[in-house]
């Protein structure tokens, strides 16, 4: 603990960056596990610095004193059993001393029992889905930084927001001081759920469930990123955890449950074309524009939608490719019927495409079978 305070002091004295964190070490720990990791690291670094000073001290002493240019004559010794045994055993003992607290911490990290809340985090290419298993709702969490800020090679790129690439539309919300268990899995490829300040990193593996846990000690917002290469937009799927008071959490959960109910599109709703187009534009820009671009022109290996055979041909083919994917394009079956229908309608009637079709949610539902 003493060490941590020293570190914090050192951190306070160094020039700080956007998040007011020391740029030279871990982010300020916000969970017991992160604090323990920080302490362990500091302690190991102290041992390392001592070893480093001794080893480099000896080496540079030798380099300066035992050189021919100062007239040093070589002494032809080449073994000494006692010394050799000593420098085998002493490092082994130092390692044993390091191993003990590390092992205890491994056991603490791996103990995911007695969770207060369980949330499933699902990695998608390239966003996160969160399901509140205990409360029966879930939502997707996507990068909120506009593409225009990212693409510097375009003229007139707007200035980057302070939370560039670390902001999402819907953060994960958890109550302070509660033991939160995160189940990770993935929809397509391996992702990794990483929030440095909370000391959590867990790969999300398609077809398997893994778990980890944290207890956030303070109210605040903590940010991380996907840390397993997952394709094109690996760098663009941040994780934002908003820690709120217990009361705020309850209010939020109630609101989310109500919203989830409302958002469940009424299957009998009659959609007008304009409604579908507006919804489709929104779905396109948060899901498809990364590859096919906002103007539908595509780029590199990603085909243009403007004038494409699929987007201007029969709509069955269009629905099929969105639901099943092809080559580098993942399946978008995870979107709702309304989302798929609206985005297809949008694609068939934008970027210079004028099929005049419009696809209804019921058609998508039928195509899924």
């Amino acid at each position: 603990m003493q060490l941590r305070r020293l570190c914090a002091m050192a951190a306070a004295c160094t020039p700080s960056f956007a998040l007011a964190e020391s740029p030279y070490t871990f982010q300020t720990p916000q969970s017991p596990i992160a604090s323990h990791i920080n302490d362990l690291h500091t302690w190991i670094m102290l041992i390392i610095v001592v070893v480093f000073v001794v080893v480099f001290g000896l080496m540079f002493y030798s380099i300066f004193k035992h050189r021919r240019s100062v007239g040093h004559q070589a002494r032809h010794f080449h073994e000494n059993t006692a010394v050799e045994v000593a420098w085998t055993i002493i490092p082994a003992l130092i390692l044993a001393v390091m191993a003990f607290p590390a092992a205890r911490l491994v056991l603490a990290q791996k103990n995911t029992t007695n969770a207060d809340i369980t949330i499933k985090a699902t990695g998608y290419q390239w966003l996160w889905g969160y399901d509140y298993m205990d409360y029966g709702f879930g939502y997707k969490s996507r990068l909120a930084t506009p593409r225009a800020q990212i693409e510097n090679y375009k003229d007139g790129a707007p200035p980057k927001s302070p939370l560039y690439l670390l902001e999402v539309d819907e953060p994960l919300v958890v109550p302070v001081g509660k033991r939160v268990r995160i189940l990770t899995t993935a929809n397509d490829v391996i992702h990794s759920w990483y929030v440095p300040a909370l000391g959590v990193k867990q790969d999300a593996i398609p077809g398997f469930i893994r778990d980890t846990w944290f207890t956030a000690e303070h109210i605040g917002t903590y940010r991380g990123q996907c840390t397993e290469l997952c394709g094109r937009d690996h760098g663009y799927m941040p994780i934002v955890v908003k820690v709120v008071s217990d009361a705020d959490f309850k209010t939020w959960v109630t609101a989310q449950q109500a919203k989830a109910k409302a958002a469940q599109d009424d299957p009998n709703k009659k959609w007008t074309k304009d409604e579908l187009l507006a919804r489709g534009k929104q779905v396109f820009e948060s899901n498809c524009a990364a590859c096919h671009k906002v103007d539908g022109k595509g780029g590199g290996p990603f085909p243009a939608l403007a004038g494409s055979k699929i987007a201007t041909g029969p709509k069955e083919g269009h629905i099929h490719i969105v639901l099943t994917g092809k080559n580098a394009m993942p399946s978008w079956a995870g979107l709702s019927d309304v989302e798929v229908a609206s985005v297809i309608t949008y694609e068939r009637n934008s970027f210079g495409n004028h099929t005049g079709d419009f696809v209804l949610p019921a058609e998508v539902k039928a195509a899924r079978k």
Partner: protein, 567 residues
């Protein structure tokens, strides 16, 4: 390339003059009447020196190519936002940079060194299987071509990282298949090269040179070759399963078909961790040759060095899980891999202490090879320390997949393997070319590389601690400063290597003058007992027992019976 390599390893002219007066090994200079000239000399090459030369030039060209990719990465990362590439091309750059540096540059460079130097150092006339040696080299250029062509097929090159993790690698386009076939070819090449090295070392040593009296470079080459024979097939198996998953409907790595994506990681890292030592052990060997030479003292603790190399090799098969601490092992596996990994610090520490003791009380001079060896020692130690930090599973949870890991393995592979390769090149260049390189330029190359390397990679430790993931084409604003510094360092480091190329070509063309047969007064191994430049054929008759003993006594591996033998 042909003209320079011709000069690097002259087939006929120079050695005629050396035959009589330049000691042992020169007398066979007239035996190479059947050596073909022109392109046939290289395509049909069976001479270990010619093949070694080709390996070294191949490795250097791949180093420049891989380095260019690295500069493409660092240029993009100079500032936040996408400036030059699309993200998917960035992924292809990181993947090809890794694959090319590991399989195209570092490994072939060491195989080249082994080809050139092992027969000279153990008194053998050539490698055991001269024709297979030709085949092991000539598989490499097609492999490199496959990797380069992959960039131009639909979908571009492999973009799943050099580790090729599925399901991402199953999802990608045809470039991945090119990558897989390239790895197959390079694996075949490595296996054949290794069989050659093992056989040569075990069967063709000079009289009196028992296993525990071999030069340390021969020892590390032997252990490296065994490691490769053990794990290259494992990698081939892993990528073949990937190939069948991609095209033939198998489900090794697909959970929906009863497979497991993590299985690939187990198999890959069962290869991948020994691979780390395949790249590090020969570097240990090189440094163990250079340090005694320029300290004018025998290598300290020869036997413990050998035990340490063997211990590291054996432990390297038991620690692969530390690359996977974040996949969600049970606590017991997490602990097992953590303890085994920490254990590797013991033999590695023994080696570092032995090297420092070799320098201790020596009479050191600091020619370029020595500078690179000391640079290796300093930076490899730092890489070892960051490795220790990473070995602690709880800390690794924070650092896994971040720039800290990038910093760590570049300290081990660039400052470790690459610096030792530079040291080896300067050390043996006089023997290869017959000329002395420019010491001034060599020292400039060292200091420039040393400083630029640290500017590039040291800040990456901070980036990793602060949580910047690796393999991202774009980053949050708080990472900007260190990324700018690293990018500047990378370009400086890249330019330093042009200096190296110039110095080598300059040396081939005459350098600063002809080199004596033994340019380093502290050098005691057998390669310095052949003429300079080394004739096309050496040790067609094994060195005499007396000559071998003379070297072994100087290396402290045998006691002299008469006091005068010391002089």
């Amino acid at each position: 390339m042909t003209t320079t390599t011709d000069a690097l390893n002259p087939a006929h002219p120079i050695d005629h003059g050396h035959g009589a007066d330049h000691g042992h090994g020169g007398h066979d200079a007239h035996d190479h009447h059947h050596a073909p000239a022109g392109w046939r000399r290289w395509v049909y090459a069976t001479n270990h020196k010619d093949i070694g030369t080709m390996y070294l030039w191949f490795a250097f060209s791949m180093f420049l190519l891989g380095g260019t990719f690295a500069l493409g990465i660092r240029a993009e990362l100079f500032s936040p936002g996408m400036q030059f590439w699309q993200p998917e091309f960035f992924n292809q750059l990181t993947t090809l940079h890794g694959v090319i540096m590991v399989f195209g540059a570092i490994m072939p460079a060491f195989t080249g060194l082994m080809n050139w130097m092992i027969p000279l150092m153990i008194g053998a006339p050539d490698m055991a299987f001269a024709r297979m040696n030709n085949w092991s080299f000539w598989l490499l250029p097609p492999a490199a071509m496959l990797l380069i062509i992959s960039l131009f097929v639909p979908g571009g090159g492999p973009g799943a990282g050099w580790t090729f993790y599925p399901p991402l690698s199953v999802q990608l386009g045809a470039g991945m298949d090119f990558g897989i076939f390239a790895i197959h070819l390079m694996g075949l090449s490595s296996i054949m090269g290794s069989i050659n090295i093992v056989t040569t070392i075990l069967n063709m040593r000079a009289p009196g040179m028992t296993l525990l009296k071999m030069p340390m470079f021969a020892w590390t080459s032997l252990v490296t070759a065994y490691l490769l024979i053990a794990v290259a097939p494992v990698l081939a198996g892993a990528v073949t399963m990937l190939l069948t998953d991609r095209h033939f409907g198998t489900h090794f790595f697909n959970a929906a078909g009863g497979g497991d994506p993590i299985l690939f990681q187990h198999v890959f890292w069962f290869f991948g961790h020994p691979e780390v030592y395949i790249m590090a052990l020969p570097a240990f060997g090189v440094v163990s040759q250079i340090l005694p030479t320029f300290s004018r003292k025998p290598l300290f603790g020869y036997v413990s060095m050998v035990y340490a190399v063997c211990a590291i090799a054996i432990l390297s098969f038991m620690v692969w899980g530390h690359h996977m601490f974040a996949v969600g092992f049970p606590a017991t596996a997490q602990l097992f891999y953590m303890f085994m990994t920490m254990l590797i610090a013991v033999p590695t520490g023994v080696k570092v202490f032995n090297w420092i003791s070799t320098m201790w009380q020596g009479s050191m001079t600091f020619e370029t090879p020595m500078l690179f060896a000391i640079g290796f020692l300093c930076l490899f130690t730092i890489g070892g320390m960051s490795g220790l930090v990473l070995s602690l599973a709880p800390v690794d949870i924070q650092l896994h997949g971040t720039y800290y890991v990038v910093a760590h393995f570049h300290y081990v592979l660039v400052a470790g393997a690459l610096f030792s390769l530079f040291g080896a090149t300067y050390y043996w260049l006089p023997k290869w070319t017959g000329n002395m390189y420019s010491e001034r330029m060599g020292k400039l190359h060292f200091w420039w590389s040393m400083i630029a390397f640290n500017i590039t990679f040291f800040p990456m430790h901070f980036l990793g601690l602060a949580g910047m993931p690796r393999r991202i084409p774009d980053y949050a604003l708080q990472f900007t400063t260190f990324n700018e510094v690293a990018s500047v360092g990378a370009f400086l480091f890249g330019f330093a290597q042009i200096l190296f190329l110039y110095n080598v070509i300059h040396t081939i063309r005459g350098g600063v003058g002809p080199s004596p047969q033994r340019p380093w007064d502290g050098a005691t191994t057998l390669e310095w007992d052949v003429a300079c430049p080394a004739p096309h054929h050496t040790w067609t008759e094994p060195p005499s027992l007396a000559l071998v003993r003379e070297g072994l006594i100087a290396q402290g591996l045998e006691e002299s019976t008469h006091v005068e033998e010391l002089k």
